[in-house]
Structures are given as structure tokens and as C-alpha cells.
Homo-oligomer: 131 residues x 2
């Protein structure tokens, strides 16, 4: 919980809005909802998101240009790899990790002298309720 304490005003606004949301939001979604709190420009959102991603409170969903609050804060030191299942009908996002997948990918990288910095793993499909 330490990290939340250190957030600046804009970072807190963005993080709280994203945490309260029931699904992913785009940067412009966030901007629209934070105008009444005084935010006016996309950069204010993007800069906050950038910082929030650095401290693993927020993840970017590459396949849909949007962002979610982390579902398991403070566990990323252990997990390293984070995966998402994204329902294309209802928008629900499930965050999970898998040690076997992670070590398998680590092996692939090691064998080829590839130095990973960030991995994104996103499964699009239909969730239980929508399938």
C-alpha cells in the first residue's frame, strides 16, 4: 500500500478513477471523467498513467489501447509476468499469471540471449457469462 501514498494529485485522480471503473478505460475516457476535477489535457492523463505503470498499479492493455487498475497490487515482484483475458462482448478483464508460462518464456529468451524488458500477453475471447 506504500505506493498509493506517494502518488501526486493527478496520479491519484487517475488511479482512483481507474480503480472504481468496472473495466478498462482509454486515456480519453479518463480525461472526460476527470474534467470536473480540473484535468484538461491528454498529457495530464498520459503522464499519470506512465507513472502508475512504472509502479505496477496500472496495466496497459496493448490490444485495446486502454488501461486497467492492477487486480493484485504488490504481487508483481513475485509474478513478473502478467496476463489478461479480455471478454470482447462485456469488456470484463481477468488478470492472472502463470509460473509455467513465465519460465517457459524465460527459457526461450535465455537460449537466444534475448533480454526481456516487458512482456504482454492478452487473450481475447468470450468470458463464461458471454460464451
Amino acid at each position: 500500500m506504500a505506493q498509493e501514498q506517494n502518488l501526486t494529485k493527478n496520479q491519484s485522480l487517475v488511479f482512483e478513477k481507474l480503480s472504481a471503473a468496472d473495466g478498462p478505460m482509454s486515456a480519453y475516457d479518463l480525461l472526460d471523467e476527470l474534467r470536473e476535477q480540473g484535468l484538461k489535457a491528454p498529457l495530464q492523463i498520459y503522464r499519470a498513467l506512465e507513472k502508475l505503470q512504472e509502479v505496477d498499479l496500472v496495466h496497459r492493455l496493448e490490444s485495446m489501447n486502454s488501461f486497467v487498475a492492477c487486480a493484485q497490487p504488490h504481487c508483481h515482484a513475485k509474478t513478473g509476468l502478467v496476463a489478461f483475458a479480455i471478454c470482447e462482448k462485456c469488456g470484463t478483464v481477468s488478470e492472472f499469471s502463470d509460473d509455467v508460462v513465465q519460465s517457459r518464456l524465460a527459457d526461450w529468451a535465455t537460449e537466444r540471449n534475448f533480454t526481456p524488458t516487458k512482456t504482454s500477453l492478452e487473450i481475447r475471447g468470450l468470458c463464461q457469462g458471454c460464451g
Copy 2:
């Protein structure tokens, strides 16, 4: 090779340009290079790319909004899951697949009644030469 035969003119132009490239290209990169062949609008590129992705001749790299020709055409019926390692310095993209990762993700989905339609797995980092 059957698939290449069936391509329309625009689809062939895009596919050949992408195959000849030594790395990923954005839709607008492609448009710039295909103007002399008569292409004029982004939609012409995007529509060709859409079709090429459907037949697995081209992959979209979600984490960088760009596209690559498939490195192992006609194997995707077997592999299903395709992964990419992307060098952030030199831009080299390595396409690979891994049965263990694939089955592990399939298990995750099965257990949760999640029906996958498309999975993207992209490892950013530094390749052997750039590390």
C-alpha cells in the same frame, strides 16, 4: 502457397511490401511506400491488412501498432499460438510458438469457461546483438 494466389491486387501489394521489409511496418509506412503503385488512402491499406491477417499471412504487433509478414506461413493450423520477441533497439522481430505455453493457456481458459478467439504474446527487450 495457395493463399498467395487468391490475393487481390491491393492485398498482394501490401503483402509483398511487408515480406520484403526487414522489420515491422505501420499501415502508414506501407501507404507511403505504395503510393507509386497507386494506393492513396489508409483504408486501402487497412482493408488489405485485415484480409491478410485473416489468412495468417500477416500478423499485427499490438504493442507497436505495426505489422509483419508471417515468418512460418501455413503452420498456424498446427501452432495456433504465435509469439513475438521484439528488439527495442534494432527492431528485429522473432516469431515463434511454444506448445507448453499454448496448452497452459488453453487449460486456464478451459477451467474458466473462457472461449479464446485471439491471443497476442509479445516480448519486448534486447536481442542478442543489441543486448
